[in-house]
């Protein structure tokens, strides 16, 4: 009974366990839902879904299953507008392969060829290395890899260095209420806790009590100490937008975990590299900029600096004045980075990009030197090593 529904829920991304499913059956046996579909819906939701973020997924699977729609996932897929450009399976190219692929001709030639191919091609196409489609190595299409490729119908930048992005680019605030999977990260961050005793004395200090009582000729002399608090101070700089789109999820998780673990946490956003200003709210980033110098003055040397970014960009953005892609910067990013590392001697750079690809991106190499080789991948083990480096 309902077993198909159970598996459809799991396929639809609702994390349902057997215990919860059995609870639902038990509730049905207790006649809690008296035949009305609505009652059953409420009961099933209360039993099976434990997070309001999954309500929508549950609703869709529920509707599909109980209206007898067989092809559930076709209907889910139909909501994606560019039907023939669906991401159906990205070709997994090794780093070596990527490094080997060379750009094809200049910009004009690319556009010209695109126009031709669009005329020649009438059907959906996937893979291969010539036609426009998904996951291939042709310079046209989306979710593929060609360093000078033109992106068609893709919402996030899949690889660095696209010559031109035709999608509207929207920066996303890193929501701190996303809690999915943050537990592991929290456990890792705990290692960074440095306990200090502050505040009212409310814990019995047994050792001191015994010593004092003995000194007091056996008459009890109670000693108390304040409770331990997490006294570590964290400064978090997050890269947003552009090439970081792919990593928004993992950054959100990190941010959310850090937010709940540390009492003294300050965060700022930047784009690609740190220059003379940062901002706190991405939606109003052009209006409310905070000078980096002011941040350096405000937060003392005892703060530990964690920079999160993929460091993938044109090398000029780091080494040259005016290299920023968004504004004219008087001083090169490298100069600013040196100032930061001097202000906060305890610093690390967390890179969400997988470590095997680092050596193929020149800007990553430069950044690694700038942060004195304290760059770590944004994985649990990388986080562990980063935290050791921060001590």
């Amino acid at each position: 009974m309902l077993i198909r529904f159970f598996f459809l829920l799991r396929e639809g991304g609702v994390p349902v366990s057997i215990t919860e499913f059995l609870t639902l059956l038990e509730a049905l046996q207790a006649r809690l839902a008296n035949g009305s579909a609505e009652d059953f819906y409420y009961l099933a939701r209360s039993c099976l879904v434990k997070d309001e973020r999954h309500f929508d997924r549950f609703d869709r699977v529920f509707a599909a299953h109980f209206q007898g729609v067989e092809a559930l996932f076709d209907s889910l897929m139909a909501q994606i507008p560019e039907e023939w450009l669906q991401r159906m399976g990205e070709r997994t190219l090794s780093a070596e392969e990527k490094a080997r692929i060379e750009a094809l001709g200049g910009w004009d030639k690319l556009l010209e060829t695109l126009r031709q191919r669009l005329e020649e091609q009438k059907e959906r196409h996937q893979g291969g290395n010539k036609w426009i489609g998904t996951g291939g190595t042709s310079p046209f299409g989306a979710y593929g890899y060609n360093p000078e490729g033109i992106r068609i119908g893709q919402n996030e930048s899949r690889q660095r260095r696209a010559v031109k992005v035709w999608d509207r680019r929207e920066f996303q605030n890193l929501a701190d209420n996303v809690e999915l999977g943050t537990r592991n990260i929290k456990m890792a961050l705990r290692k960074l806790r440095k306990f200090a005793r502050e505040g009212a004395a409310e814990h019995l200090d047994l050792d001191d009590t015994i010593a004092s009582t003995a000194r007091n000729a056996g008459l009890l002399d109670l000693k108390f100490v304040p409770e331990r608090h997490n006294a570590i101070k964290i400064l978090l700089f997050l890269d947003v937008g552009g090439s970081m789109d792919d990593h928004v999820r993992v950054c959100e998780e990190l941010f959310s975990a850090a937010r709940s673990e540390f009492k003294h946490l300050e965060y700022f956003y930047f784009h690609n590299f740190v220059y003379e200003s940062l901002w706190k709210d991405n939606r109003r980033r052009h209006l409310e900029k905070i000078p980096t110098l002011e941040v350096m003055r405000t937060y003392g040397h005892d703060y530990k600096l964690i920079v999160v970014g993929d460091a993938s960009m044109s090398p000029y953005e780091i080494t040259q004045p005016g290299g920023s892609i968004e504004h004219w910067n008087e001083e090169a990013g490298a100069v600013w980075m040196q100032r930061l590392t001097r202000t906060w001697p305890h610093h690390v750079w967390l890179n969400p990009e997988s470590q095997q690809r680092w050596e193929y991106t020149q800007s990553v190499q430069i950044t690694r030197q700038l942060v004195e080789d304290r760059m770590f991948p944004l994985t649990l083990s990388g986080l562990d090593r980063a935290i050791k480096a921060l001590h």
Binding site: A27, Y42, L43, D51, F55, R183
Partner: protein, 283 residues
């Protein structure tokens, strides 16, 4: 004694909420309630206890609360002190076992309601430490070597503000309900339950102003149901006419007595700025 919860004269329960409460009462499993602050999560436990006529045990969780404190605590310090003073009761360790809220609920003569309020405030291991107690409704007291078993499985209502993620193993054992922010119709019911003699016109204007205020972008703390009720209470006490609430009146740009709705200085400031801009554009 009725065993179905259907809202009370003071509390409007939506259908899905009633289902969740009744399922958890019938199957004896805890109910986890989440929702925006001020949507009546804590209130729910009180009303369930009242409508089912059960005693209510409240356990409020703070960031320093340990799971053990809900079961019992061994007051070693007073025992040590008593031994210094030569008291005779020092020989029975049972004299120094202080019962926690959960133990009290387990001992209740009739099936009680146990409210575990704001569980997300505690340490992230807190819910894991209560798994066995919630599953089997029993625990072991090491000092006196006795098992404490619940006489009646309590109706456990747990509230969370989502500040921390709860462990999966804990979630699997609960029923879950998310109190959505009520729509305008439910809101009218709620206000009617609390202020039945409120002038209809005033209510309409107040609700319109309230929902408009919630729409204001960038508010740090959006006003919620409990703030609305406070505000209406104030409006009634001040006897403010309905006309004064219309926001298109340029002199009364900010709703009167807004302090009950906006709890944050920056929010008030933001609203003033927005209204100022709005009026300038209107000209």
């Amino acid at each position: 004694m009725s065993s179905r919860f259907a809202g009370t004269d003071r509390y409007v329960a939506t259908e899905d909420l009633m289902m969740a409460v009744n399922a958890s009462v019938t199957l004896g499993r805890p109910l986890l309630v989440k929702g925006e602050p001020g949507t009546g999560k804590t209130q729910l436990a009180e009303e369930v206890a009242r409508s089912l006529n059960r005693p209510l045990y409240r356990w409020h969780i703070k960031s320093t609360t340990k799971a053990q404190q809900g079961l019992y605590e061994y007051d070693a310090v007073s025992r040590l002190r008593d031994s210094q003073l030569g008291e005779s009761k020092v020989h029975d360790i049972g004299n120094y076992i202080v019962k926690g809220r959960m133990w009290e609920a387990f001992e209740s003569e009739v099936q009680p309601v146990l409210l575990v309020d704001e569980i997300d405030k505690a340490d992230i291991e807190f819910p894991n430490d209560l798994l066995l107690e919630i599953d089997r409704m029993e625990f072991y007291v090491y000092e006196t070597r006795q098992w404490v078993k619940a006489r009646h499985r309590p109706i456990i209502i747990i509230t969370s503000n989502n500040e921390k993620e709860l462990p999966d193993a804990f979630l699997r054992r609960c029923f879950f309900h998310y109190i959505r922010f009520p729509d305008a119709a439910t809101m009218e019911q709620i206000v009617a339950v609390h202020y039945p003699d409120l002038k209809k016109e005033l209510l309409h204007e107040a609700l319109a102003a309230f929902f408009q205020l919630r729409e204001t972008p960038g508010l740090k703390k959006k006003p919620s149901t409990s703030e609305l009720l406070d505000w209406i209470k104030l409006l009634l006490a001040e006897d403010i006419p309905a006309e004064a609430l219309r926001s298109d009146d340029p002199k009364q740009a900010i709703p009167p007595l807004y302090g009950a709705l906006l709890k944050n200085e920056q929010d008030v400031h933001l609203l003033e700025q927005l209204l100022f801009l709005h009026r300038r554009q209107g000209r």
